[in-house]
Subunit: 103 residues, 2 copies
């Protein structure tokens, strides 16, 4: 039932955000979400559906993404404004990072 607790902007914590993004699968997912709103099945991964559910939860609970159920899918978007308000420049630094060997 998506147990949906999205933290408020004030409750975002930098270590949690960094930890959430410090996983290659989640980082890749967030980069894709950053391009535009997605649903779960848009992601091609090596891991199972239930494992992805786990990763979505970590991202949601860290306040990185927002999940918006609609019909039988869940739209996911980046919480850009909240992250920018609390941690200015962080997202762009992460998205602009040299990809040479960082994936």
């Amino acid at each position: 039932m998506m147990n949906d607790h999205h933290p408020t902007r004030e409750d975002l914590r930098l270590p949690d955000v960094l930890l959430a993004l410090g996983n290659p699968i989640r980082l890749a997912a967030v980069k894709q979400i950053a391009i535009g709103e997605c649903i779960c099945s848009d992601f091609v991964t090596d891991v199972s559906k239930s494992t992805m559910t786990h990763h979505w939860r970590v991202l949601r609970e860290a306040g990185v993404i927002q999940q918006r159920p609609e019909g039988r899918v869940i739209y996911m978007s980046l919480r850009r404004d909240d992250l920018e308000a609390r941690f200015p420049g962080l997202l762009s630094a992460i998205f602009n990072a040299d990809q040479a060997a960082s994936a």
Copy 2:
């Protein structure tokens, strides 16, 4: 013996750096190192000496800090240039983050 393998600049990986900084103890330590070179005993923490050794290793192996033994102490410094080269703006975004509830 400090087993010192510092990764080269090219080998730095974003997820590893984020993971290393995604721990409150390490994040606090790095913020302090950012102010100026430190030795281990400069840090006041709740954890034991051997636990800190572990955290120094994580930071060193992620390429966040540099350890330079001198006499019987080890000077630690931030690998600012390398991090900036690979992940421009990341450090400043992290250090400038709103501290309201992020520790």
